[in-house]
């Protein structure tokens, strides 16, 4: 599919897609159409990568980091060990973030409880 369709399906802007291509996060094929400036052809695999990109962003990774992740290419199953180690590391980072967020949720919950039950005890401290 060409860039407009790809952007629509991945819910990215055409400009963003082009940026990702320039940054090496996506590697569309060079199609036959377009003459001197051949059109880029995106695949279903690129759609999956787009999902990864958005997930990574929600996670606070930079495009560079996401590119590193994507280009380790757990997608084709080659060079297993390196990829596995890399993924395991990312997994642990995610798990760490989750526990941070859970602390924050507990904090907000405590704050809410404290507000609902006026003036009982001190304002709950944010977990150090």
């Amino acid at each position: 599919m060409m860039i407009a369709a790809f952007a629509r399906e991945s819910r990215l802007s055409v400009d963003a897609v082009r940026l990702y291509v320039r940054q090496g996060l996506l590697h569309p094929e060079v199609g036959t159409k377009g003459g001197s400036r051949p059109y880029q052809i995106f695949s279903a695999l690129d759609l999956e990568k787009a999902r990864i990109i958005r997930a990574g962003q929600a996670l606070g990774l930079s495009l560079k980091e996401i590119g590193a992740f994507i280009n380790k290419r757990a997608f084709d199953g080659k060079e297993g060990d390196v990829v596995i180690a890399f993924l395991a590391e990312q997994r642990d980072r995610l798990a760490g973030r989750i526990s941070e967020l859970e602390k924050l949720v507990s904090y907000v919950d405590a704050k809410i409880a404290w507000l609902r039950n006026p003036g009982v005890g001190p304002s709950p401290p944010y977990p150090h």
Copy 2:
């Protein structure tokens, strides 16, 4: 405490602290020292806010959003209902993020398992 001590204790840079003050995330008192450009005096409450700021950033909130959060001021316990609603909303956003991240962890785990057990079945799809 003055800005350098505050920066040290909150593990922020002096520049970052000044930025947060300009953006309205921190509201140090105007001290008596400093003459025509009075020095800012930071409190223990500001230290707590600094922790909130860093948590919010790790979470991907913008300074503006963090400022809105901080300035709803669940900290002093005034205007309960509005604050509670606001906090509850933030709490839900956090919970949503957590579940996103959990999906991502599952995905990575599945990917790892798939890589370890070579070629068994298709590469796990990223959860739509």
